[in-house]
Amino acid sequence: MGWANWLISTVSRALAFGVPLLWGTLGEIYAERSGVVNLGVEGMMILGAFMAFAITQQTGHPGLGLVCAALIGGLAALLHAFVTITLRANQYVSGLALSMFGLGLAGLLGRGWEGKPLGKPLPTLAIPGLSQIPVLGPMLFQDQTILTYLGIVFAVILWALLFHTRWGIAIRSVGENPATADSLGINVTRVRYLCVVFGGLLAGVGGGYLSVAYRPSWTEGMSAGMGWIVIALTIFASWDPVQAIWGAFFFGVLYHLSYRLQAFLAPELLKLMPYLFAIVVLAVSGFGRARWRQRAPGALGLPYVRGER
């Protein structure tokens, strides 16, 4: 059963590790599809992580904690939206500032919360029936929280919404060519605001997962760079919610294996693996440039001013 042990632990760990990445990436895909880059994911995630922990610790309801995490993520994103959409400031600068602001604020608010255990973390679900299937059961249907399944279902819904509904067309056209969208009567500002704030809500949940499920406690800086991986995964997924599932899962597999394989390969090399992989992917997508360019929203990173071309 050696191989089964490897398969089970790799897949189930990859799923668990991929959850915050998936939620964050789904949010960032929507923001970027509407033409707004938000590099503040790290900040929104850590604020979500703190909020979820603090609320859960006080009330004993991890669900409520996650809702509050989403709200604070959304609130932080609203700030980014105001600065970049209304004030038309540089999106990259604003996003970086948001990351630093989030890390700092969460650290400040979190004083005194570190080292406190969480009585009621988000439970893992053993799905009745399915979890009893040999190999497949422990691989997919034990040791996961509701957020794993919800994330995957959400990804499919968001994919359908983006590519097969009028709303999706509106979002994509705002991201491709806001002037044209505007002339067709789409409210560019409103679409962008909604997408950016929606992205913040999801990043907040991703962060909340870290502090109430993945490692139920609060420590300063606990998002430890996940927000930046989200930015890379958004590109890797070609701004497609369903591909984000594979991206997050694949990153999770590499991450787990980088510890599992240490008995056989140099640990320094393995530690590089996930990041090396990200670089390779970006390089490859650079070669297939025409195709990649097509996928990136045309007006990504550009503020929209009516009447300018």
């Binding site: 760990r13 300063e220 640990p267």
Partner: protein, 381 residues
């Protein structure tokens, strides 16, 4: 004659009084956030303890200082009027030395390094004895014969801890193995979590670690497996699963050092040979799940029931062995050291000869892995 003597005494006394009336402003430079619940958290806790204890002491701190930028922060603290500065990361060593040479009138103390100056001392509270004691317990508690260890970096400090731990494990359970995984970061909860999960998947059932978060304890507890806390008391994270652990008391060193500065024993001229290497016998480190609790009561029975034939003590339970060894090391006239020869490394070389103890220098430069350690060991000689 008497009168002259009286005058001299009065002058000296007045001088001493004037000096001791002088306030000390001590600055602390931390590498991490004070909320890490690990290394930096422990230093800051100690700072607050001594600060509250003495009226003549005022303290300030800066946190999350990048290792390359320590000099800039020292400049800032000196401008704020600090006359004693503690830098608390190995990577601050060269920057601190350079600053000590630029500010000959300020007293510096650097944690975990080896470079000194007339106005710069070094200090360290080391855990290797405590890890050994934890190893004794771990050896008795494993059922699979595999114990997991998550290490931050493969540097001498962590290797020393791992080796001492493994020596303890094998003293009780000669066939047990200690499986190690490195995360190459002092603080990265996600990495620590996945490293622990990887060890669990390989069949490890007891855990110890050297990194700056309570992650390993939490992950092991989720799976119902016992573990040993590191740095801060981690009992509260998993009251049913934290067997014991390592707890630091930096305040012992800070208090001693600052009192000696205050009393004029330490000056900016005489620190070139002042090096604190404080262990159990000085009270700078403690073995326990939390202060005062050496062994979690939930595990007392298991350790009392595990009886072995010990080459020195004959038939003895692990529980008694832990306290016997603890007393031998905590007593000021230390009669035992974990690194007591003969010790062979896992490549079969004799690294500590029969009857010998390791010197301080060889302890802080230790690179080999003792028999029983399984897994990657970068830099293995």
């Amino acid at each position: 004659m008497k009168r002259i003597l009286a005058v001299v005494v009065t002058v000296v006394a007045l001088g001493a009084l004037a000096f001791s009336a002088e306030k000390i402003k001590a600055g602390f430079i931390y590498v991490g956030p004070i909320g890490d619940y690990g290394w930096t958290h422990a230093h800051d806790l100690a700072r607050r303890i001594v600060d509250e204890k003495y009226d003549w002491l005022e303290t300030v701190y800066v946190e999350s200082v990048p290792e390359g930028e320590v000099e800039t922060y020292i400049d800032q603290l000196v401008r704020q009027g600090c006359n004693v500065i503690f830098t608390t990361s190995f990577g601050f060593m060269d920057g601190t030395l350079a600053a000590a040479q630029r500010y000959p009138n300020v007293i510096f103390a650097h944690a975990s390094g080896f470079k000194r100056n007339p106005n710069m001392a070094t200090y360290m509270a080391d855990f290797y004895q405590v890890y050994y004691l934890n190893g004794l317990m771990a050896g008795a508690l494993t059922k699979t014969g595999k114990i997991g260890y998550v290490g931050a970096f493969p540097i001498p400090e962590v290797k020393r801890h791992l080796n001492a731990f493994t020596i303890g494990v094998r003293e009780v359970n000669p066939n047990a193995e200690v499986h190690v995984r490195w995360i190459y970061e002092w603080f990265n909860p996600a990495a620590a979590k996945e490293a622990t999960e990887a060890l669990i998947a390989e069949g490890c059932d007891v855990f110890a670690f050297t990194e700056d978060s309570p992650t390993v304890v939490q992950v092991a507890a989720e799976k119902g497996l016992p573990s040993f806390g590191h740095y801060s008391p981690m009992y509260d994270f998993a009251p049913d699963y934290v067997v014991s652990g390592q707890i630091v008391h930096w305040e012992k060193i800070y208090e001693d050092f600052l009192l000696k500065v205050h009393n004029g024993v330490y000056t900016t001229k005489n620190l070139a040979h002042v090096d604190y290497w404080w262990l159990l016998s000085q009270g700078a480190v403690e073995v326990g799940a939390k202060p005062g609790m050496v062994i979690n009561p939930k595990y007392e029975a298991a350790l009392k029931n595990f009886v072995l034939n010990h080459p020195v003590f004959g038939r003895i339970s692990v529980y008694d062995l832990v306290f016997t060894r603890l007393n031998q090391m905590a007593d000021p006239g230390i009669t035992f050291d974990p690194f007591q020869g003969p010790i062979y490394d896992r490549k079969g070389r004799l690294v500590v000869p029969e009857g010998m103890w390791m010197s301080y220098d060889s302890l802080i430069t230790l690179e080999w892995a003792v028999v029983g350690v399984v897994g990657p060991w970068p830099g293995e000689p």
